[in-house]
């Protein structure tokens, strides 16, 4: 199953990204394991500098900005 992670220390932008992921999954009827990573120590393992970060299957797809719903849908298709 697809694994999606949203990395961010709980700021508004991170929450929006997380909600956009849920919305994208809902619109496409896709199933995925969605995880929110808020712990900084955990986050630093992925070597990120700017948050929020959207990861799909352990690969960084979008970082430093809110991922839009249609962007996430496109990313999930590939």
């Amino acid at each position: 199953m697809t694994q999606i992670k949203v990395l961010g220390p709980g700021c508004p932008k991170c929450k929006t990204t997380y909600n956009n992921v849920l919305e994208a999954l809902k619109q496409t009827n896709a199933e995925a394991e969605v995880e929110k990573v808020e712990d900084i120590e955990q986050m630093m393992k992925y070597n990120v500098l700017t948050t929020p970060v959207l990861m799909i299957n352990e690969k960084i797809k979008i970082k430093g900005r809110v991922a839009q719903v249609n962007e996430i849908i496109d990313l999930l298709k590939n």
């Binding site: 700021c11 120590e41 500098l49 948050t51």
Partner: protein, 324 residues
């Protein structure tokens, strides 16, 4: 360049709504319409330009540059400039801090970046051009960069490593070589919609603060008598700068909301230097930021960091008041 907006505001308020140009309400509304339109246009333009710059110079690249190049002391200056051009989000400050230190960048240089990043940001630059003109903007940006450079350099002299949190020290001990950036290359054309969207998002995000700030400013413009503040907070009293800065440090306000208000303070007699220092303290240091940094620094380190930056903001306030 902005004459047409003034003409539009005059026409709308004085002709369409038929409110006299000699009434308080008329001048306040006219100022509100003119400033709101002008600021929103500038805001979009500046944020958009910064977006393009950032697409080519992402923070990862800047970090690599600081790490790999021998800069002979100029690294503080470069880190400060990079802090200015990187869009600031308080939620990124901790990951940025760890990422820099982990990547082998000295603590002082990291501080240079961290100080300038909120101090000089694209929203504040746009507001400054709109409200105070180009010269004041250049002085603000220049002094913000200088402040970050010197502040970081001094903090670097303090041997602050031992005041980091335990887990951060552990990371420092095990400096690992980091992988390259895992991101697809995109052409400028592909990126453009994304950058435009990003700029629109930022403008949308600060819109409410701009409108509230300008509304308060407009009300004050119409109702507060000329030179009202000048009598009480004028340049003659040296203590106004430190008092303004110390009040502003714990406060947090968006640059978008605070600039229109200080513009009125200046128009009514407060020296520009005092006003700029007040704004820098408001956007640069705040209680919410200190709370975030607590995860990676001891209180003592946060205290030193805030203390040094506060001191330099006060000094730059004095300097502006002498120069401007």
């Amino acid at each position: 360049m902005f004459d047409w907006i003034q003409n539009f505001a005059d026409w709308l308020i004085y002709s369409v709504f038929d409110i006299g140009a000699d009434t308080h309400l008329g001048t306040a509304l006219n100022f509100f319409i003119y400033d709101t339109i002008k600021i929103l246009i500038l805001l979009f333009l500046i944020v958009f330009l910064m977006g393009i710059l950032n697409a080519y110079l992402p923070v990862e690249k800047l970090k690599d540059f600081l790490h790999r190049k021998k800069l002979y002391g100029l690294e503080y200056f470069f880190a400060s400039v990079f802090g200015a051009i990187t869009p600031f989000c308080s939620c990124s400050s901790v990951p940025l801090f760890i990422g820099f230190v982990q990547g082998g960048i000295p603590l002082g240089v990291t501080f240079s970046f961290l100080i300038t990043s909120p101090l000089v940001n694209e929203v504040a630059i746009a507001m400054f051009i709109g409200m105070f003109g180009l010269k004041a903007t250049l002085i603000y940006v220049g002094s913000g960069i200088l402040l970050g450079t010197i502040g970081g350099w001094i903090l670097g002299k303090f041997n602050l490593e031992e005041w980091l949190s335990e887990w951060v020290k552990k990371i420092l001990g095990s400096k690992m070589e980091q992988d390259g950036i895992d991101q697809e290359k995109q052409s400028f054309r592909q990126r453009l919609p994304e950058i435009t969207q990003g700029a629109l998002d930022i403008v949308k995000g600060v819109l409410i603060y701009v409108i509230i700030g300008i509304a308060i400013g407009a009300a004050m413009h119409g109702y507060v008598p000329e030179n009202f503040f000048g009598e009480y907070l004028g340049g003659g009293q040296w203590w106004t700068v430190p008092v303004a800065v110390i009040f502003a440090v714990p406060m947090y306000a968006n640059a978008a909301g605070i600039v229109p208000v200080i513009e009125v303070f200046v128009a009514k007699g407060v020296p520009l230097g005092t006003a700029i220092a007040f704004m820098m303290a408001t956007v640069g240091l705040s209680i919410p930021e200190a709370t975030l940094l607590k995860k990676v620094m001891s209180m003592r380190l946060i205290g030193t960091y805030f203390g040094v930056v506060t001191l330099f903001i006060i000094l730059s306030g004095f300097l502006f008041n002498m120069l401007l």
